[in-house]
């Protein structure tokens, strides 16, 4: 296929050619960034979380008399344990993704500084089993540590804590965290165990550094505990939650009792992220359609304008395939120019977004992928007009148009 005659012809039709290039470039630029944003949001939605997300239900009890917590919580736990299918149950102060962050900053020295805010979880006896924490190093809390640990001025009066793998690596790179001490506000705790990464209470707010920065403390029954964590088989969770709501509604008639499966809590946390991803996806599809229609419109007009030229070529021996190929090559050239310009634009937009919205840098592979997508789109769009062109009979050449 000869490219030079195509280029010569394109030079003669600068404006339509420029418009097609511009359309493809704009589509490429916006598409790259939109797809990148979709990708990031999907990644957010799928942040892993090392608790038993499918088996947990959470019932929140608020507005009860804190002074009675020491007797009420064991009574409630006993009643919840009686529900068929419940394999573990415990009280806790908060849950990952519950958007009610209790944050503290821990340092490895008494007077150290840190910019990372750690989500703090206080769990009652059996909390590790109820949450399904995965122990990587060391041990969980023992019964004495639960019994001795209280809650005063937002901190544990105990002496032990569990941290996540991410924090262990961040705080003591290359060393084991076991037995080390963490400080906050002149108080100190010993790390007795390292667990797999649990999400923060509001990871979108905590930023990348705090997303998996979580600390667990033991706590005897205390008014600060508003959550009951129930673990069951995934298929039982809806029924378990329903029965738990009934049980607690009866026992805690003064309180406000609400509940959700953990899967539901996670969905709720990411609901607006998900809807933004869908919106972006919708815009991308409509944009591709509009671009395709634009290419179809311009090319068909163009074909119409060049009927005579096509007829002459057919008369001097060009086959239908040649004509088809001609338009496809032409579109490919325009598409390439558009994609090249579009990539520059896409990177420009990405740089702007990085400065303005703290967006990440777009990985390079978005560019070839979107280039291929737009090439394919262009070829599909040009197919109709090109087929029509290839059907121009040679006799057109002999007629004056």
């Amino acid at each position: 296929m000869q490219i030079r005659p195509i280029l010569a012809s394109l030079r003669k039709h600068r404006i339509p050619a420029t418009l097609i290039v511009l359309e493809i470039a704009l589509a490429c630029a916006v598409l790259c960034n939109a797809v990148f944003m979709i990708g990031q949001r999907l990644a957010d939605i799928h942040w892993p979380n090392a608790i038993d997300e499918q088996g947990i239900s959470v019932v929140t009890v608020n507005g009860t008399d804190a002074k009675l917590a020491a007797s009420d919580i064991p009574r409630d736990l006993a009643a919840l344990r009686g529900i068929a299918g419940v394999t573990a149950v415990a009280a806790a102060t908060s849950m990952p993704l519950d958007q009610n962050p209790a944050l503290s900053s821990f340092t490895t020295t008494p007077d150290g500084n840190t910019t990372v805010n750690t989500s703090v979880y206080f769990i009652g006896s059996g909390g590790e089993q109820a949450l399904g924490l995965r122990l990587l190093e060391g041990r969980f809390f023992n019964a004495d540590e639960y019994a001795d640990s209280g809650f005063k001025d937002f901190a544990s009066t105990g002496h032990v804590m569990l941290i996540t793998q991410s924090d262990a690596r961040r705080l003591w790179p290359g060393q084991s965290a076991l037995g080390k001490t963490l400080y906050t506000n002149e108080q100190a705790w010993t790390v007795v165990g390292v667990v797999a990464d649990v999400l923060a209470q509001d990871p979108k707010m905590s930023g990348p550094g705090g997303r998996y920065s979580s600390a667990f403390f033991p706590l005897r029954p205390d008014g600060a505990m508003g959550d009951y964590v129930l673990r069951s088989a995934p298929q039982d969770r809806v029924r378990v939650l329903r029965e738990a709501l009934q049980v607690l509604g009866r026992l805690e008639s003064d309180g406000v009792v609400q509940g959700a499966t953990y899967a539901g809590m996670r969905d709720a946390y990411f609901a607006d992220t998900r809807s933004m991803a869908w919106m972006l996806l919708l815009v991308c599809m409509v944009m591709l359609a509009v671009t395709a229609f634009g290419i179809v419109g311009l090319t068909s007009f163009w074909v119409g304008q060049r009927r005579r030229q096509i007829g002459i070529r057919r008369a001097v021996g060009a086959t239908r395939g040649h004509i088809l190929q001609y338009f496809q090559t032409e579109n490919f050239l325009l598409g390439t120019a558009g994609v090249a310009l579009g990539m520059v634009l896409a990177f420009g937009i990405n740089l702007y977004l990085m400065q303005r919205y703290e967006m990440a840098r777009m990985p390079w592979y978005y560019l070839p992928v979107s280039a291929v997508a737009l090439w394919v789109l262009g070829q599909l769009a040009v197919l109709g007009p090109a087929l029509r062109a290839s059907n121009v009979p040679p006799v057109v050449a002999t007629r004056s148009v």
Binding site: N62, D153, S275, F293, G294, L298
Partner: protein
């Protein structure tokens, strides 16, 4: 002349229905997306208190230790104040009005028959809250400074809570059971929900929404042990039980300053206060700030990034649609070179041809605008069904309705320029010769 162009344009548009439909559709989609996102953006970035916002200011001081600043960069000032500082500034009475605000989630227990206890969004504030923010009352009024100091157990409730608890009747004088204490209702609000909820920024809860349910005098509520939703300690030794003496920030403070001289006088007062606190050893830094309401909203980036990104994306999309329309209009007009030649030979000036094609573009624009409006209404309907906290506010208002057509016409006329210019540049003679 215009009527004739209109006739020509309509004929031309009818002649090529597919191309016309494509143009109108492309333009309408672009406009629909733009108007939808702009409507949301305008709602989110609007002035919550237009008649008053220029007179409202948010004083900030910095009690944080020098080696452990409030923000990572050390540049931002704390977004709230400690009780001691708020009370010092409040009691100085250097502004026309001054108010301290904290938010709280409070348990409301209805009468035995009326249903189960529930949580309501609450405000703890001092007396100036109501006159300062022009809060409208349906029944009764707010409390006074004397009731503040006397720790009077009174409450103002929102209209929607009054509907829920008392069926909308005048409940002034009745009691409401909040967090285990009885408060006497002295006022019921008309609908009041400024968007964004400027007075509650960073104090806990959402920046947009239906407004608070319960308003309580700060000192009385605190005496009953009602805790704020947000609390940050800047030094060891904070406790929820002794918040008033804790090294913790949990209160927002607003002052009303009617003119520029009052503003500069208050700035001076605030700076002196901070220096005085440094001298006393309470503060280590004497930095202060006092943004106006709108400055405060801007500096705290209240408008969600997602809304801005969506609007930017929609503009990109509109640009693509306009380029697309340029292409299609161009395709149409170049195809009619012969018609143009004939009209030119019969005496039409270049200007006349230009005008004719611009009229055609304008018609496409108007059609695109009408259809775009439909898309925008659909889009906003879609947004209202989204989970975002501001979703329910997304409605098209009259200015945006007009703006739709302005955008549509502007976009189509811009799109029409190149084709119309090409059309009027057509030389008549070759066109006639060819036939």
């Amino acid at each position: 002349m215009f009527g004739y162009y209109l006739d020509l344009a309509l004929r031309s548009l009818r002649r090529n229905k597919v191309l016309t439909t494509l143009m109108v559709m492309a333009l309408a989609l672009g406009i629909g997306a733009t108007i939808t996102t702009l409507t949301v953006l305008r709602l989110l970035s609007g002035d919550p208190l237009p008649q008053k916002s220029a007179q409202l200011f948010y004083p900030q001081v910095d009690p944080y230790p020098a080696d452990q600043p409030f923000s990572r960069s050390g540049k931002r000032l704390p977004f709230a104040m400690s009780y001691v500082d708020v009370m010092n500034l409040l009691h100085a009475r250097k502004a026309k009005r001054q108010v301290a605000v904290a938010l709280s989630q409070v348990k409301v227990t209805p009468d035995a028959q009326a249903g189960k206890p529930f949580y309501a969004d609450g405000v703890m504030a001092t007396a100036d809250f109501f006159p300062m923010f022009d809060v409208p009352f349906r029944y009764g009024a707010g409390w006074t400074a004397a009731e503040d100091d006397g720790r009077a157990q009174v409450a103002v409730i929102a209209g929607y809570l009054n509907d829920r608890l008392f069926g909308g009747a005048n409940s002034v004088g009745r009691m409401i059971h909040i967090e285990g204490h009885d408060f006497r209702i002295i006022g019921v609000l008309k609908h009041w929900a400024p968007q964004p909820r400027f007075y509650a920024l960073h104090l806990g809860g959402h920046n947009y929404g239906k407004g608070e349910g319960v308003y309580l005098p700060l000192l009385a509520a605190r005496a009953d042990g009602i805790a704020p939703s947000m609390m940050m300690s800047y030094a060891p030794g904070s406790s929820l039980q002794h918040l008033e003496t804790s090294p913790a920030i949990w209160l927002g403070m607003w002052v009303e300053l009617p003119d520029a001289s009052a503003v500069s006088a208050y700035r001076l007062f605030l700076a002196n206060y901070a220096r005085q606190q440094v001298a006393l050893g309470r503060f280590q830094k004497s930095r202060t700030a006092m943004p106006s309401l709108m400055e405060w909203l801007r500096s705290e980036h209240v408008v969600p990034d997602d809304a801005r990104l969506q609007a930017g994306l929609a503009f990109g999309f509109l640009l693509i649609c306009v380029v697309n329309t340029v292409g299609l209009l161009l395709a149409k007009c170049l195809r009619r070179a012969r018609e143009i030649g004939v009209r030119r030979v019969l005496g039409a000036s270049r200007g006349a041809i230009f005008a004719q094609f611009m009229v055609e573009a304008a018609i496409v624009g108007l059609a695109g605008g009408v259809l775009g409006l439909v898309f925008a209404v659909l889009g906003l309907w879609g947004i209202r069904h989204q989970p975002a906290q501001y979703a329910s506010l997304a409605h098209l208002d009259f200015p945006m309705f007009l703006f739709t057509f302005v955008v549509a016409l502007a976009a189509s006329l811009v799109a029409g320029l190149l084709p119309a210019w090409r059309a009027c540049a057509v030389a008549p003679a070759p066109q006639l010769k060819a036939s």
